[in-house]
């Protein structure tokens, strides 16, 4: 009998331990899920933290803070209207550290704010240059505080302005809108893969240098005055794209860090090239020009790039070999597909070399060339003796692009 009783008690106690009862229970109605977080340099304090939250109706006790369903228009009339946009509200607090800001946020809001579902972490360029970025991310990345899979955005201008301009698009919620937009941009490879925990680890000095998505308010000014753009369809920085839309925030290009400071901004086209070298390229369009006209080619990367660093010579030699596929409609009576392929290969080779030289001059290494050079060292001591930091600025690059052109459903060797 005693044994049966114990056999019953044992799993019951185990279940009791793992459930924890109501000890740490939080009612959904007492919480609110933050959608985005912005970090700027404060006016009176070091940090201004902006939190974007769904606007919850005053009678919304049943709705809880769980969803970001934009609801009612019961916002008091005396509040700063710029903080209320399209069913979402912004709350701003200032403090010397992120911990101060979080404490202030608790006093400013009637509900507990949860960051475990945030979509994006936005910070301004000036904030990144202030030297507070790393310690802020350290504070935010405490266990169970912030979603490690959130995307990191560097804003040209203020992060709070970007958050204010965020608009849910085509009838969806803002969270869904952001997700699908990010997915679309990644499918054409004009933005990098910049997950919060990866950016943090790279800022910490592990592996390649950190890269963030570039974000800016795109007010349609580029429609009137030509602000940027190069020879390629994606050769723009965020905020310079020639479009006008009800969703004025543009995400385009990338910010490359050197250590914990942003060192270089890459256009969408340069980001595509960087993604090619990282093997993250999904598809994209390039324009191959000759004397008469331009031809668009749709690129695909089906094979991982081959990167090696040769340390035998006086200066290191970085070899990058890419095997790509391109598809285009080619009228063989009017143009020579071989010539088109050769032009495309030459264009990509030249642009990739230029990009590598730009990264080298800025002292950035988002491609983890250091990791490839490290493969020559068997021990840490050998690696230290190689002095890669001193050797990298004088490294030479050899880029080889091999393109397989698929024209009119036929492969041209």
């Amino acid at each position: 009998m005693l044994k049966r009783l114990l056999c019953f008690l044992l799993p019951s106690l185990l279940a009791l331990c793992l459930c924890g009862g109501c000890q740490d229970a939080r009612a959904a109605s007492s919480q609110i899920l933050a959608l985005n977080v912005g970090l700027d340099v404060g006016e009176s304090r070091a940090i201004r933290l902006t939190v974007q939250l769904p606007e919850v109706g005053s009678s919304g006790s049943g709705g809880g803070g769980g969803s970001d369903n934009p609801s009612g228009s019961d916002t008091p009339s005396r509040v700063d209207q710029s903080l209320v946009q399209n069913g979402y509200v912004l709350t701003q607090v200032e403090g010397d550290t992120v911990a101060d800001c979080l404490t202030m946020l608790t006093t400013a809001l009637p509900r507990e704010v949860t960051f475990l579902h945030i979509r994006g972490l936005y910070f301004s360029e000036s904030f990144a240059r202030s030297g507070l970025l790393f310690q802020s991310l350290t504070a935010l990345l405490q266990p169970r505080l912030t979603r490690p899979g959130a995307t990191v955005y560097l804003c040209l201008g203020k992060a709070e302005d970007v958050l204010k301009a965020q608009t849910p698009f085509l009838g969806t919620r803002l969270s869904k809108s952001q997700d699908s937009r990010q997915q679309e941009l990644q499918s054409i490879s004009v933005v990098p893969d910049a997950l919060l925990v990866e950016v943090y680890n790279r800022l910490l000095g592990q592996g390649a240098d950190a890269v963030a998505v570039l974000a800016a308010v795109n007010n349609g000014n580029a429609m009137e005055a030509s602000l940027g753009g190069g020879e390629q369809p994606a050769d723009y920085l965020a905020g310079e794209l020639p479009y006008n839309s009800i969703s004025p925030v543009s995400y385009f290009g990338s910010a490359v860090f050197r250590g914990a400071q942003p060192a270089l901004f890459l256009t969408g086209y340069e980001t595509q090239l960087m993604n090619l070298c990282l093997g993250n390229f999904q598809q994209g369009t390039i324009e191959v020009r000759d004397e008469s006209a331009g031809r668009s080619l749709s690129l695909h990367q089906n094979k991982a790039p081959s990167i090696s660093v040769d340390l035998d010579g006086e200066t290191p030699l970085v070899r990058i070999r890419l095997e790509l596929e391109a598809s285009a409609y080619v009228n063989t009576q009017l143009e020579d597909p071989q010539l088109l392929r050769q032009r495309a290969e030459a264009l990509l080779t030249e642009d990739l070399t230029q990009l590598l030289l730009r990264l080298q001059q800025a002292g950035c290494d988002p491609l983890d060339l250091e990791g490839h050079a490290r493969m020559h060292a068997l021990t840490n001591r050998q690696w230290q003796q190689m002095e890669w930091d001193l050797a990298y600025p004088s490294a030479c690059f050899s880029v080889q692009v091999q393109l397989t052109l698929r024209a009119n459903a036929a492969t041209i060797p």
Binding site: N201, Q206, Q382
Partner: protein
């Protein structure tokens, strides 16, 4: 109560004890410092460890640990007592690991002392009934934990593994790794301590050797995956790669918060290992005090375990921090591991004398 242990149950119990870090802090700890090159040490310890395991199996032929200790005469109690104390400290470290894991991932707001007390109430009946029910419980969880581990690896490795993370291949030097690997291999000498169960199992030595191979394989795959997924200089600890890769590998792109799910497989493993550790502690101390039934010891041992495990590392008194962090108690592992060897040499000497006589 059926006290016999089936072969697969003993296999799961021994493998669980090897991989749950109950024994690892005592011997594989230098691997902590080798970071991304640790898998080389583990590979070496795997090869050497199988040799050590064969030696321990040969030393134990025809008897078990206590019968080997009995050959030491009056010192027998001392060796058993030291082993009991060692098991107590190892169990406390393992139990603290379980509490830390639950505190970090699932029950962050539950008071640690309450959690420790409730878990101890689960643990004590297991000790009271002996290691057979614990091994049965563990064999129930083992397939689930293994499948989950495999799923995490399959989700994490293909997209995140980087070959460059393995370099420099030999970390601080091949010599250092060889020393680490040799020290790590000693952990498999524990086989002859863990085969206290041998009289209750049909083919204990074969099962023991299989458990050594299986746990070495688990550890090797864990450390290698950890190295492939994390760039050199990673600040995260490498002492528990099976669990750590689920937390730091970035697999959450595919399977968010898997670490919380994995904890549900990892926590029972640690709980069973702690229960088995406390059970062995009681049996060793019982043997030292000449008690046939060690069960009366479990309640006071449980209280001691609670005192050792309940304070968090930040609030722990100085002596407890010394035990947890300095790991000076590793020296305690030497006499129990040497006991069967001394007993074997005494037996040989005695046999030679009889031959001469």
């Amino acid at each position: 109560m059926n006290n016999r242990i089936g072969e697969h149950e003993l296999l799961v119990l021994l493998t669980g004890l090897f991989i749950s870090q109950l024994l690892i802090p005592g011997s594989l700890a230098p691997v902590d410092y080798a970071a991304n090159a640790a898998w080389v040490s583990v590979l070496l310890s795997m090869v050497l460890g199988l040799g050590f395991a064969l030696i321990s199996a040969w030393l134990l032929r025809g008897g078990d640990y206590f019968s080997a200790c009995d050959l030491l005469g009056r010192a027998s109690g001392l060796f058993s007592g030291l082993l009991g104390l060692l098991f107590l400290v190892l169990t406390a470290v393992c139990f603290r690991g379980l509490l830390d894991t639950l505190e970090a991932y699932i029950l962050s707001l539950t008071p640690r002392a309450l959690l420790a007390g409730l878990l101890l109430l689960c643990l004590l009946p297991g000790c009271f009934f002996g290691s057979a029910p614990i091994s049965r419980m563990l064999s129930f969880y083992a397939p689930f934990a293994s499948l989950l581990f495999l799923a995490v690896l399959l989700l994490a490795l293909p997209h995140n593994a980087k070959l460059t993370n393995l370099f420099p291949l030999f970390g601080d030097g091949a010599r250092r790794l060889a020393i680490d690997g040799s020290i790590g291999a000693v952990s498999y000498l524990w086989l002859f301590v863990l085969l206290i169960e041998r009289r209750r199992c049909k083919r204990p030595l074969r099962t023991g050797l299989l458990s050594v191979a299986l746990s070495a394989l688990f550890l090797f795959v864990g450390y290698l995956s950890y190295s492939l997924l994390n760039a050199p200089g990673s600040p995260s600890e490498t002492s528990a790669p099976l669990q750590q890769i689920t937390t730091f590998s970035g697999y959450w792109r595919f399977f968010q918060r898997t670490q919380s799910v994995f904890v549900f497989a990892w926590a029972p493993l640690l709980l069973c290992a702690s229960a088995a550790g406390l059970c062995y502690c009681g049996r060793c101390l019982g043997h030292a005090f000449g008690m046939e039934d060690p069960r009366p010891l479990f309640l006071p041992l449980g209280v001691v375990l609670l005192c050792l495990a309940a304070p968090s590392t930040e609030r722990a008194p100085v002596w407890l921090r010394f035990v947890i962090e300095q790991k000076a108690w590793r020296a305690l592992s030497l006499p129990p591991l040497l006991a069967p060897l001394i007993a074997w040499s005494l037996r040989q000497r005695k046999a030679r004398r009889q031959t001469h006589a």
